[in-house]
């Protein structure tokens, strides 16, 4: 009995020692801590982070709590990370307030901290010197550009009249969340510009409205109306009823659902997307564009029910943040990086470089 216990104990010690040696190869260590370890979005970020580690000759250690709500676990991980004196720390904070005291210690010990994804908004410790994240204004612009490139869209917009204006509806889940507001901004202003560039008759004929935050009247009778709608609450039922109303507006040419919840609301109100079927669907002429991913949205894009969607680029977030961290560790100055956004549709959704970015 005793001998068995000893053997098992020795085996465990060996396992641990092996694990530690294999992880510690490499000169400089950068620790990257996400909001949740298993989440597919962050898994893609870790793939990018490890690639950057190879390219810049640093060893990358990934960590994160078991859920985004497990704030205590992340705080302990950040503290432990700082104890280990890494060359730099890369962080997406679950709760920016609770990591402040740990980050103050990072600052004291001159460990540079780089934010990624949502980063550490409102950081007061001064430890966070840069962030690699999606610029949501640009991302909204990518949606607008791809929509405006569609011949079907161009034809309908050009054919519209003041008596029967073409409507482009935007379903924004709320008007306070920074990322959704910026995305909507990016989309509506870029689309107005692109539509006006299509034909001289359209200059000054595009209006933006529906919400006080987004209100730009046209200088002559509007033939194209961009209408933003925000549901009364962020409940799925409210989102869905707003989506239903949008679908019934006459001459609706396109709908932009600005985040995953909005996308899901729209899919539920079209009989799980079947009413958007390009051949047989009740709304087959409406071009729907989405944002982010999720299994429902992926199905809708793959089947062609959605014209296409834009995803953030977690791979780039991981890659760029490690690049910034490696530079900061060498004492070089760093500045925020826009990690970009990628357009995907039924044609490219299963390409490996896109599939990596799309979580379920």
């Amino acid at each position: 009995m005793k001998r068995h216990v000893t053997v098992v104990a020795l085996a465990l010690v060996g396992m641990l020692a092996l694990a530690s040696f294999s992880a510690q190869a490499g000169e400089k260590t950068i620790i990257i801590i996400s909001k949740s370890l298993q989440n597919q979005f962050y898994q893609a970020a870790f793939v990018g982070a490890n690639a950057a580690g190879k390219d810049f000759g640093v060893s990358v250690v990934v960590n994160g709590p078991d859920a985004e709500s497990n704030i205590p676990q992340q705080v302990e991980q950040v503290q432990a990370a700082i104890n280990q004196r890494p060359a730099a720390l890369v962080l997406a904070a679950c709760d920016p307030t609770s990591v402040q005291e740990a980050l103050a210690r990072a600052k004291e010990n001159k460990i540079p901290v780089i934010g990624f994804d949502s980063g550490v908004p409102g950081d007061t410790s001064g430890a966070v010197i840069g962030t690699a994240a999606t610029n949501n204004v640009n991302a909204g612009g990518v949606v607008a550009d791809n929509l405006a490139d569609s011949p079907a869209f161009q034809a309908k917009v050009k054919a519209a009249t003041a008596a029967n204006p073409a409507v482009i509806a935007v379903l924004a889940q709320d008007s306070t969340s920074g990322s959704i507001v910026q995305r909507t901004d990016g989309f509506v202003y870029a689309l107005k510009k692109r539509v006006e560039a299509l034909d001289s008759s359209l200059v000054g004929a595009v209006s933006i409205g529906g919400q006080d935050n987004w209100s730009v009247p046209s200088s002559k009778p509007a033939t194209v109306k961009i209408v933003v709608t925000v549901p009364p609450t962020t409940n799925q039922a409210d989102i869905q009823s707003v989506a239903n109303a949008m679908l019934l507006v006459p001459n609706t040419v396109a709908i932009f659902a600005a985040n995953q919840d909005a996308v899901n609301g729209l899919i539920s109100s079209t009989a799980d997307g079947t009413e958007l079927n390009r051949q047989t669907g009740r709304y087959k002429d409406i071009l729907v564009v989405g944002f982010d991913a999720g299994s429902n949205q992926k199905d809708a894009v793959r089947s062609g029910a959605f014209f296409g969607s834009v995803t953030q680029d977690p791979y780039q977030m991981g890659y760029a943040s490690i690049k910034m961290a490696a530079e900061a560790a060498d004492g070089k100055p760093v500045s925020d990086i826009d990690t970009g956004a990628k357009w995907y549709n039924s044609k490219n959704i299963d390409n490996p470089d896109i599939a990596l970015l799309l979580y379920d």
């Binding site: 020692a17 530690s20 510690q24 960590n63 704030i71 205590p72 104890n83 280990q84 709760d95 005291e101």
Partner: protein, 328 residues
């Protein structure tokens, strides 16, 4: 000869504690050799930091386990009372001192409810505290309107409670002093008072205690109320450690407290257990947590190894009692 007496103690009643202490030393040494930057003052402070709230929960849990009971509600009561204290401070605008009292009272109240359910209504402890685990998680979230409660940072004037109960600005571990203080008080309670005698006796042979005319129900109420009180204290430290308290969390923390008791030699069958052992158990868990993080191993491995240590502790206990039995 005191040394002979010490050896006799280690071979006899103190064996489990001695083994736990040796395991603690071995683990610490192991991580000092193989962990990265583990042998530092900062890591030592982090080890202490992460042991206060588990420590308070485990002190209360030790009493409960010695009485052959279990308290599954301590995790959610700890977080729940910190949540209610956060409401007192940020929503009701009470002074921080009062909010801290609210935290302790909330914990004590849940303990009292557990005690009444178990002592007076004769519910099995497992079921009663399973119920109050859900009730505390739900009710405290309702009080907080399912909002995350934020405590002021250490630089804010109301952040004084962090320097008093958790850590001074220069990094002195104040929490350790508070744990030590309440540890000593509870050791005295358990060793020199009726409460201590009855706690062990109830755990050892409840029927015999009942037959000798002692009001077991009342003592159970006291034991579970004390456990709730310690959950309240844990709530203060939890608030000081993490600043942001998320509703509907805390489930699972009780398992660390139970594990600490078991590593320290407490028997879930009751009648056996010591606070010194529990404290060693708490430190074993903290060293493991921090040590595995210093070896870059993710959370899943912490849980795996804590599980192994718990099993090893029970195994050692089983082997030991078998030997003792054979010797007879």
């Amino acid at each position: 000869m005191p040394i002979n007496r010490l050896i006799a103690y280690i071979k006899g009643p103190g064996q489990q504690k001695a083994i736990a202490l040796a395991a603690l030393a071995a683990l610490y040494t192991f991580f000092c050799i193989f962990g990265s930057h583990f042998a530092s003052r900062e890591t030592l402070i982090s080890i202490f930091d992460s042991s206060y709230y588990t420590g308070f929960m485990a002190i209360g849990m030790t009493l409960v386990i010695i009485s052959a009971g279990i308290d599954l509600s301590v995790g959610t009561v700890t977080v729940g009372s910190a949540l209610v204290g956060g409401v007192a401070y940020t929503v009701w605008h009470l002074p921080m001192g009062v909010a801290l009292v609210v935290i302790v009272l909330t914990g004590t109240l849940f303990g009292l409810i557990n005690g009444l359910l178990i002592g007076k209504l004769d519910l099995p402890p497992f079921i009663a505290t399973l119920g109050s685990q859900f009730i505390s998680m739900g009710l405290c979230s309702v009080v907080a309107r399912v909002q995350t409660m934020r405590y002021p940072s250490i630089s804010h004037p109301d952040g004084w409670f962090k320097t008093v109960f958790f850590k001074t600005v220069s990094g002195f571990p104040m929490g350790a002093l508070w744990v030590l203080l309440f540890f000593v008080i509870t050791v005295i309670l358990l060793t020199y008072t009726k409460l201590g005698n009855y706690t062990y006796a109830i755990g050892d042979n409840e029927e015999a205690v009942r037959l000798s005319g002692i009001n077991i129900a009342n003592w159970k109420v006291v034991i579970y109320t004390i456990s709730g009180f310690f959950s309240g204290l844990a709530g203060i430290i939890y608030a000081a450690t993490f600043s942001s308290i998320t509703p509907q969390t805390g489930g699972g923390l009780e398992m660390y407290a139970i594990a600490a008791c078991v590593i320290g030699g407490a028997s879930l069958a009751g009648g056996v257990g010591s606070l010194t052992g529990t404290l060693i158990g708490v430190l074993v868990i903290s060293v493991l947590k921090n040590g595995l993080m210093s070896m870059w191993l993710p959370v899943q491995w912490q849980q795996f190894f804590i599980g192994l240590v718990v099993l090893a502790a029970v195994l050692v206990d089983v082997i030991r009692s078998k030997k003792a039995h054979n010797a007879k």
